[in-house]
Amino acid sequence: MLALAPDAASQKAATGVSSPGKWSALGVTPEVLWGECKGSGSKPYRACVDLSEPAYRCSCPSRKFPCKHSLGLLLLWSADGVPAAEEPADWVAEWLDQRRDRALKQASRLTAAQEAAVRETAAQRGAPAGTAGPDGRAHGDDGDGAAGSGGPGGSGRPDRRAQQREQRVTAGLSELERWLADQIAQGVAGARQTGPADWDAIAKRMVDAQAPGVAGMFTRLSGVLREEEWPGRLLGEYALVHLLAVAHRRTAELPSALGDVVRSRIGFPLARETVLASPAVRDRWDVIGSRDEEQDRLIARRVWLRGRETGRAALVLSFAPVGQALDASLVSGTTVDADLAFYPGSAPLRALVARRHGAVQAGPPPGLSAARIPGLLAGVLAGDPWTESWPVVLSGVVPANDGGWLLADPGPLDSGPLDSGPLDSGPDLVPEVSGLRLDSSIGTPWRLLAVSGGHPVTVACEWTPRGLRPLTTWDEEGKVVVL
């Protein structure tokens, strides 16, 4: 329950208000939970929680979300401290109605956008495909992220802005191509000294050139220098940036889906409405893990999903300034029946939740054997060679050790080709198994080892070029364990 809290302080505060003495006018129906909590003022705070989502509302002025009252109420409820009621209280019913109205409006806007997109696509069919003309796709110009709300461009002005952006990006990236070539011509041996300052300058230049994706590649680059084999790593990173710049220059020659990948990697924004207008994928989505990362006083929450029926992977991003609550509607270990709209591309991952149909009780997600992951990733990288992160679920794997840690398929090896050199298993040793490396920077995954105990487990991981990073696993009770 407390996993829903935005931070530790809220957890503590929530326990403080979870005592029954603080509450009055409590009630719960299968849908909604509510109560009035005595606060410092004369009027009690009214808190309620929509249990189907979960969604929260409280009359207190807290900017934390969910606030301590909502959490305290949930704690009290989980301790059986809330009596069941036939009907929600009036003010609760009112809130539920408002929510329903909003959802309906959103749904009808969505339908309208979808219809518009269908018309647009139909109109484009008439034009010859693959010409070198300006991109006809509907890229909006508003911010990329949770707050985007403007409509897709229709008038002449946004078009001109988009053209301006194209020009800036093109100029910036060709400058970058020259800079990279210069680096390689002169040698990168001095990167340890001059690199960070150079990359900082490039990142700023790329922001000016309206290519935030490329800017991000450079701000992350200084981490490379901490590694022993930094020259090789740096060359690899430069090569991938070079590849992106070239791909942008020659977008017209690329298949359209790969063009989408290039544009999104560079950081061309795409309006939510445009994404939502694409055909949605309905599935029972397992929420297999999440991670919050802070950058420039902004916290990005990445939530990874995997569809039970389609087997598709998805990433839902949300942002909030430090100290403010992030979207908490997707909880690791739960399964939601929902429509997901994917951002376009040849290895689509990022998605928006277009519509939630409800939660499902489904247990641990199905997964793949370790042996099948490389094939899966080869496909992903063929679609998007810049992929640095991809969610995978492994099932029936055991932890193994080869100096570092592996997640391996149990059972004896057939003598397939492996790149680890000759087999030298002594007579008294356990037979070797074969599996995938974990990212060595995470150290020994003790919690995963504890849950597994050397027995097969299901583990959701983030694949990265440096190895797997475990996200969640499921224990003997089928309970999700965040790693």
């Binding site: 407390l2 957890q11 005592s19 041996a189 690899g236 080869d402 050199g421 003790w446 105990g453 003997e476």
Partner: protein, 526 residues
């Protein structure tokens, strides 16, 4: 295994890749691109590198490794889900100070904790010895399996598993923790048999075990143990000698007791209504053999230290005869020089010999927690309550209260609540310090009653903590296998709380007895 840490990207581990990296390091202006002439060498290099990097990432293949030997099956039931979730909350920082109590109650009911929480607990146990014995039970076989993988957790192998208490193999093959538990249990039922078992294999035990086993003989100590303990005074290990000497001071007829009395008689004498103390001039080897430490802690003078040590190791019963007065009279008497050393010697002796009469007398002079601990719980609570009423809150009071184990008796609970109310406005920091202790030490079923007492934030805090503990104990009691082990445990007091709650629960099924008009704070107050 022949694999190295550097073959991660197989296609980038090749000589061709190394050539590209070298060229990039020194620059294509200075070193030509491998593979022949080129129109734009830097661009060529970047393109070749891009192809190789992506090929390497897309072509990653499985590695070989050794699987871990599977952990053996668990022998204990998993703790209930509610209790397990609460433990996770405690470990995440919510009411973190209640961890020890949770572990103690849970270990008493013979369950194990969810595997996901074991690493965090073992980390805590590596820093905090006091919880290790509980972890020996609660971490289950998975815990031992993990401890075998991480040297920092290897202490767990020494802790009792509490799994084969009755089995005779334990003494032969058990962990040292199990063997200690076995010996303690045997000592409780058949003291002579325990001693004989110990004597039989004494020479083969490790020094650590010898010291621990000697201490176990404190239970059911009689003159029959004297010859064995007298021999142990010549042990190679100082801890063993010390433990034996400490035990022998509890036996006034022991040879050590007689020798110490002889020394003490010369050092402390009565002169009318006064006592006269003389400090020894030297600490000879016979004194050292009897447990007198020759080297004082830094800052303490040699002679005063020796005096204090001699008094501390003299059977207290000697003094009443020697000085012809009762303990209360003796402790009230004026001592000229060395007064402090004499008092500290008696205090240490009272604690070592667990002498209630002397403890009572000494508390009048100075209310030390260690002395209070010797008294029966009810008296302890009464005396501490008295002290709380009579004195302002200060560091000494907080320290004394901190030393009184839960559950606090009613008089103490009431006195502390009154003190909280009295200091809440003037000294909020003291009030909250008291509130913290009160929440941890009161009988948790009083939470509702406490909440109604006063509308103060500190009192609410006490009530919230009590409520947390109440729910905690109820969840753990609901796990079914509640054995009351209070009698076999060293503290004795601690197991009582959970067991009491379990009984209360069976009264009305919901543990709500405390919510009626009365409550634990009234019940026992007659």
């Amino acid at each position: 295994m022949t694999t190295t840490r550097h073959d991660r990207d197989s296609a980038t581990g090749t000589a061709e890749w190394e050539d590209l990296v070298s060229a990039a390091l020194v620059g294509t202006d200075r070193r030509p691109l491998p593979g022949g002439p080129s129109v734009a060498p830097p661009v060529d290099l970047l393109e070749q590198a891009a192809v190789r990097v992506i090929r390497a990432r897309a072509g990653q293949r499985p590695h070989r490794g050794r699987p871990l030997p599977p952990a053996p099956p668990e022998t204990r039931p998993l703790v209930g889900r509610g209790a397990g979730d609460r433990l996770a909350r405690i470990l995440a920082g919510e009411q973190g100070r209640l961890l020890a109590e949770w572990l103690e109650i849970a270990a008493g009911s013979g369950v194990r904790v969810p595997a996901r929480l074991v690493p965090r607990l073992l980390d805590l146990g590596a820093r905090d010895q006091s919880i290790r014995a509980h972890l020996g039970v609660l971490a289950g076989t998975r815990g031992r399996w993990l401890a075998g993988l991480n040297p920092a957790w290897s202490y767990l192998q020494e802790e009792p598993t509490d799994g084969h208490a009755g089995s005779a193999d334990v003494w032969e093959f058990g962990t040292s923790g199990d063997r200690r538990a076995f010996l303690a249990a045997l000592r409780a039922t058949d003291p002579a048999a325990a001693r004989e078992l110990l004597v039989a294999g004494w020479g083969k035990e490790t020094p650590e075990d010898r010291a621990a086993f000697t201490q176990i003989l404190a239970e059911g100590l009689t003159m029959a143990d004297e010859p064995f303990l007298e021999d142990a005074l010549d042990d190679r290990r100082r801890e063993v000698r010390q433990a034996a000497a400490d035990l022998l001071t509890r036996l006034p007829e022991s040879r050590l007791g007689t020798r110490m009395a002889g020394r003490a008689a010369r050092l402390l004498t009565r002169d009318g209504d006064r006592l006269r103390a003389t400090a020894p001039q030297a600490c000879d080897s016979t004194m050292e053999r009897d447990g007198v430490r020759a080297r004082p802690p830094s800052g303490t003078g040699n002679r005063g230290w020796w005096l204090q040590q001699v008094i501390a190791h003299t059977p207290l019963s000697f003094w009443t005869g020697h000085l012809g007065r009762s303990p209360a009279e003796i402790t009230a008497m004026e001592v000229g020089d060395w007064a402090r050393e004499v008092r500290m010697g008696w205090t240490r002796a009272a604690i070592l010999q667990r002498d209630v009469l002397w403890a009572r007398a000494l508390i009048e002079v100075e209310p030390l927690t260690d002395l209070l601990a010797i008294l029966p719980p009810a008296e302890q609570s009464r005396m501490a309550a008295e002290f709380v009423r009579r004195h302002p809150v200060d560091g000494q009071m907080i320290m004394m209260l901190g030393g009184i184990p839960r559950p606090w008796g009613v008089p103490l609970a009431k006195a502390v609540l009154e003190k909280i109310a009295a200091t809440s406005t003037a000294q909020p920091w003291n009030a909250s310090e008291l509130a913290r202790l009160a929440g941890e030490r009161f009988d948790p079923s009083a939470y509702e009653q406490v909440a109604r007492l006063r509308d103060l934030p500190e009192v609410h805090e006490v009530s919230a903590t009590l409520r947390f503990r109440y729910d905690m104990a109820r969840e753990l009691a609901a796990d079914g296998t509640t054995e009351t082990r209070a009698d076999t445990r060293a503290g004795g007091l601690a197991g009582g709380s959970a067991a009491g709650l379990a009984e209360r629960r069976t009264d009305d099924g919901h543990g709500t007895a405390a919510t009626e008009t009365g409550g634990p704070l009234d019940e026992e107050d007659k």
